[in-house]
Symmetry: C2
Subunit: 416 residues, 2 copies
């Protein structure tokens, strides 16, 4: 299985080796889809026409608003569906779709003509803080370089609960948030539009099979519960954050909008990009120890597009720059018995690499406004301006095969 | 409308003036119910038999697992349903149910014979920190009495996002959580069962009508979005909390289990208990100003029951001991455009009154273990032990009418 009978450009994120899952909005309804090259594949019709027989799929599983019921079936089912889709579309396929123009026209749609919708109903969203360089950078700015990391940081993957209601699909414009800020230490707080609007470059992983309250997931079986990943922009209002976050953490600074890429790339598709993580010193507690590689070499980039369409790449990072990996995060999250549900999302936290061009937020890139970014139109950016569109992309490449996430794109409109 | 033709004991929380809403588990299905005295009222059959005609209710709205679709209809509909139920069951009712034994037997069930289920699917759960005495007590213990409140505390209702997956119905036993603790400052953290397990006495309010991303709810229209309230036990593992919570807030210390009372008492039912709040100094920003009374005089109590059934009341607090009220909390939560959805829950934070017998957590009641509580069996409690059941109750009384929440009850089992 190397090539599809659907033409796929060399720079495409979606060769037959990928087979991601998403949801297409279809009039008043929805259908689940996969993607090869520039085609969205309607899985509801693929099932209806009999191409997915023998896979233990409930009728209508692909005609729902979200993928939750499908991914809850667990890897033994979802992996077989992904493999069947690969078999149907591979160059030498004997499944018959290639030669059936009527079926092909119903099942394959040009992605330019489909509207993607949020792929899962996210029950709970957790954000970690697992990139050492990011935590160090923030610690340097807000505390001091000698004590940049908090004492707990290397003992546990620090995380906090975020808001799921305001997680939206790529392409959803949003208004600059308003809120309390305290620009002057000796004066009362003021209210108004956020002045320090920032992106955060993150990867999010989606829970497939859930657990019951009281169950703990281990680093060994964590992969059974991770359905797949997306690129995630966790917008942050730095001025709101600074004033509100002590002692209980970020709240209004983070819950006004977060953007998710539309295609969930399965953990299995990312297998070729597994790589080793950093050595962890001090030694972690036994429940956080893991075997094998659970970091992923996935290139990430962030661009700012101005209203006139001029674009500047402001960050080139990589998902491998994580101190804590996903299996550690999930083991930690559930070690107290906290249950997870299909569709829950957990995000990495801002992913910053060791070099300054690899930082994952404007706070770090422009270092609190002291190193503004020069834009192609001659303007500069310390944070994100009204009218700017932030575009994030992610992909891995190995042995000539590129597997990616497409993009997550969001435009900032002025405050209302 | 003063009395029901159903007998209601004087000490009942559920006279005809209450008419709360809940969900009953019924074999493999569910139905929505209200309650008068010791009877659960099956709203699905009440509708099916034609008693709720003319109220614009979709067919089958009361046969779902959760109340979300019903409460999403908004106050103009849900208030009329509540009023119709009152009319059907009032002493002088002409609706005919009283005389129809066949219908009565289908619709009215002894609460001893029904199993309550979580009333709403909670999308997002937010916990505030709005009792001044509680914030002050915690500040005294962890910082110092001269700077007990953080600088932001009187300018905004401090809150943070919690976990909704682990919110369970009253009566759900749970195991003592395990996690990292750092008992000795100069030694590495250790892993094991939580040693400092605590309750937090809270009230939770449930969102009815939702909003779109970008919309802000004001203090003036907040009541349109608050469907009703429950008593809420926000269990906390103090040793886990201390080690993990800086800088991003509570996480595993709070998300292992939280218990909700089964009956949602509507905001309208609590109207008689409205009372004024404290004067707020410093003056709040305009979006937090409010008109009228939005605090509620609701008596709250917490008891610890030992395995042998001996009970000790350890706290007698009141919902009126809030600095920030619900309309301020909701206005703050959405002022940045954060959307809310039907079924979202927001909780008060621990409600501590000014006197030590009014404190809402063991941390405060036993003052970090320095003032242990004496139990009837001669043992003492600094925190909650395995085998203990914590029972919380809430009710208001005015003009001879008592309206209450029943109880929220949870037993702690040993760590697995």
């Amino acid at each position: 299985m190397n090539k599809s009978w659907i033409a796929v450009a060399a720079e495409s994120d979606f060769p037959i080796q990928n087979i991601p899952f998403g949801i297409v909005k279809n009039g008043n309804g929805w259908y689940a889809a996969s993607r090869i090259g520039e085609y969205a594949i309607n899985l509801a019709i693929l099932q209806e026409k009999g191409y997915l027989k023998g896979l233990s799929l409930p009728d209508g599983i692909f005609e729902r608003q979200y993928l939750n019921d499908f991914i809850a079936l667990g890897k033994p089912v979802t992996n077989k569906v992904r493999e069947r889709i690969q078999r149907i579309f591979e160059e030498e396929s004997k499944d018959g779709l290639r030669g059936n123009t009527v079926h092909r026209n119903k099942i394959m749609k040009d992605v330019k003509n489909v509207t993607m919708s949020l792929p899962v109903q996210i029950g709970d969203y957790t954000d970690f803080y697992s990139s050492e360089q990011h935590a160090f950078n923030v610690g340097c700015m807000f505390r001091d370089p000698d004590n940049a990391l908090m004492p707990n940081w290397k003992h546990l993957p620090v995380g906090y609960h975020g808001r799921s209601s305001s997680i939206v699909i790529s392409g959803t414009d949003f208004h600059r948030p308003k809120g309390q800020q305290k620009p002057n230490a000796n004066e009362p707080p003021v209210f108004g539009p956020c002045k320090l609007l920032d992106f955060e470059l993150e990867m999010g992983f989606i829970i497939g099979k859930g657990t019951e309250l009281g169950d703990a997931i281990t680093t060994t079986n964590a992969s059974d519960h991770i359905f797949g990943l997306c690129v995630f922009n966790d917008w942050s209002a730095r001025d709101l954050q600074k004033w509100e976050y002590v002692p209980l953490g970020p709240f209004l600074a983070k819950n006004f909008a977060s953007h998710l890429s539309p295609w969930i790339v399965t953990l299995e598709a990312l297998e070729p990009f597994k790589t080793s993580g950093p050595s962890q010193d001090p030694k972690v507690l036994p429940y956080l120890e893991y075997k094998g590689d659970h970091h992923y070499d996935i290139e990430l980039e962030v661009a700012i597009e101005t209203e006139k369409g001029e674009s500047k790449t402001v960050s080139q990072s990589n998902f491998k720059y994580m101190y804590w990996n996903m299996v550690q995060q999930l083991a930690h999250h559930t070690v107290n018995g906290c249950n997870v549900r299909p569709g829950d999302m957990m995000a990495s936290g801002t992913i910053s690499g060791p070099e300054s061009h690899q930082y994952g937020s404007m706070l770090e890139i422009a270092w609190q406004g002291t190193k503004p970014v020069q834009m192609p139109d001659g303007t500069e950016r310390k944070f994100i301006q009204d009218g700017d569109t932030v575009v994030m992309k992610g992909f891995g490449t190995k042995d000539g095969v590129r597997i990616g996430f497409g993009e997550v794109r969001a435009k900032v409109l002025p405050s209302t």
